[in-house]
């Protein structure tokens, strides 16, 4: 009996879940701290473009602003509208937060030290990583639709419908962009996608030191742009923040939400944005790989490179937010269906043909 416990029950039913829980916690806590500073950076960059100071009171240079905001949200009273559908009203922010955190499980953030070792730091290194990402991020739309409907109010409902249409439309082009990358990799595993970018264009051009040329942003160039723009639309970031359009819809699907419920929505939004930055990094910017094959670069741990690239992509997102005016809804739909969809569909065929006829397919 004791033997049975140690061989069958302990390793599979008790120890593995505990180990996974510890791993997940060790991933989620730094992630949430990262989100706090992503929010801070977003506000600071926006402020700098508009010649304002931004948050600068709480802590040195306002560095603790996000934590103060969090405390404020937690201690406020959540108000549930009397006409709302209470269960779904409470469920919506939970779905958003849960889904946006769960999708990070397959993101490899670094490798063994020194870099380029062939292993990666990831919570769940599954074969169908990309499909997991697509599956879980397609659930994000539910938080928004349910939140908008359960509020039982017109503005949130209109906004939820807009948002759902927008997210479904851009998921199509994101899917095709990912397919072009997958064609060049030959695997659905995110670690394999990063490792596939170790060799490529730079080697053919005869400059193997410049590993930055190996990453997919250059060979698949138009797709890189399409992906970044679609990522903006998918996460409802400006200039595609129509679900929140303050000038017409007050504040979008979360008008009726307050305190910690609102905080979960906001957390989910920034988690999704940061996730899209991480995906851009992995798919097009070589994940944790150093940009040049120089000894000093190779000594820097992979996770540092990953974070640098993530922040670079996020800086782009923040600058776009600061100086691009908001799209109109019909323009947004036109861009998604009439420009990005044909372009990405064409690129799938083109990339597949090139790989096939030049015998480059992995």
């Amino acid at each position: 009996m004791v033997e049975y416990f140690w061989t069958a029950i302990w390793p599979w039913i008790i120890w593995t879940p505990i180990l996974k829980a510890i791993q997940s916690l060790a991933f989620i806590v730094p992630l949430l701290i990262l989100i706090a500073y992503i929010i801070y950076a977003d506000r600071k960059i926006w402020a700098a473009v508009q010649l304002r100071r931004g948050p600068n009171v709480v802590g040195p240079w306002g560095l603790l602003q996000s934590f103060a905001d969090m405390a404020k949200f937690l201690f406020k009273e959540p108000i549930i509208p009397s006409g709302s559908n209470k269960i779904l009203f409470l469920l919506a922010p939970l779905i958003t937060a849960f889904v946006t955190i769960a999708v990070w499980a397959v993101i490899p953030v670094g490798s063994g030290w020194p870099a380029n070792e062939g292993t990666s730091w990831v919570v769940a290194n599954i074969n169908v990583g990309i499909l997991y990402v697509l599956a879980i991020s397609s659930l994000e739309v539910y938080g928004i639709i349910i939140g908008g409907w359960a509020s039982n109010s017109k503005y949130p409902f209109l906004s939820a419908l807009r948002s759902a249409g927008q997210m479904i439309s851009y998921e199509v082009s994101i899917g095709f962009v990912i397919v072009t990358v997958l064609l060049c990799v030959g695997s659905l595993n995110l670690t394999d996608i990063v490792l596939a970018q170790q060799t490529g264009l730079a080697n053919w051009l005869g400059v193997p030191t410049l590993t930055i040329l190996n990453w997919f942003w250059l060979p698949l160039f138009p797709m890189f742009i399409v992906f970044v723009i679609s990522a903006l639309a998918e996460t409802n970031r400006p200039p595609f923040d129509l679900p929140e359009a303050e000038s017409e819809l007050v504040a979008g699907f979360m008008v009726e939400y307050s305190s910690s419920l609102y905080m979960l929505f906001m957390l989910g939004e920034y988690l999704a944005v940061t996730f899209m930055c991480a995906m851009t990094t992995i798919l097009f910017l070589g994940g944790w790989l150093p940009p040049a094959d120089i000894a000093i670069f190779n000594w820097i741990p992979g996770v540092v490179w990953f974070m640098l690239k993530l922040w670079l992509v996020f800086f782009m997102f923040a600058m776009v937010k600061a100086f691009v005016p908001r799209y109109r809804y019909d323009q947004l739909m036109r861009l998604g269906w009439k420009v990005f969809l044909p372009l990405s569909l064409f690129m799938v065929v083109a990339v597949a043909s090139v790989l096939h006829f030049f015998d480059l397919a992995p």
Partner: protein, 204 residues
Amino acid sequence: MGIADLFFYLFSALTTGSAVMVISARNPVHAVMFLILAFINAAGLFLLLGAEFLAMLLIIVYVGAVAVLFLFVVMMLDVDFAELRAGYMKYFPLGATIGFILLAELVVLFGAWKSDGGISVTPKVPIPDTAAITNTEAIGHVLYTDYIFYFEAVGIILLTAMVGAIVLTFRQNENAKRQNIGDQIARTPETSIEIKKVETGKGI
């Protein structure tokens, strides 16, 4: 009993439970939510079988697209529950009769059904070893190599259905204002701005 068995019973209980709730929930939106729960648990069952590709696809296609459209339609409907239940007692005898006949037929059919001792048909394509090949590749080989023509035919049929649906529902609204992006970009100050000198106190 390993952890997989525990999860099997969890997922199957939740799948059947939420499937029952789909048809018994009063609120149609709740019914769709239970349908989504059933899909997700079915995906969990696929995962336990080792069919990771199908599990993910089930969530992407059914939960991510089909159920969203369901939810859209159900939320937009202005359902009047009193009106829905008004005819309930009136049609109950008819519905019960039809249900009873179907049940009786099934009972008779299964009572008379004899198995000839197991299925002896061998699959045309041998089932690959799951350790040697990921199931994404295995399904890819079957769909795109062995059954490519059937696959293409299905694609064409679905395309026809899609075109048909669009043709049936598409209405050109003559009054709608449309923006031609080409014209918009081709505009220059000369074609779009007119400068007038206005004399003081006269207006245009």
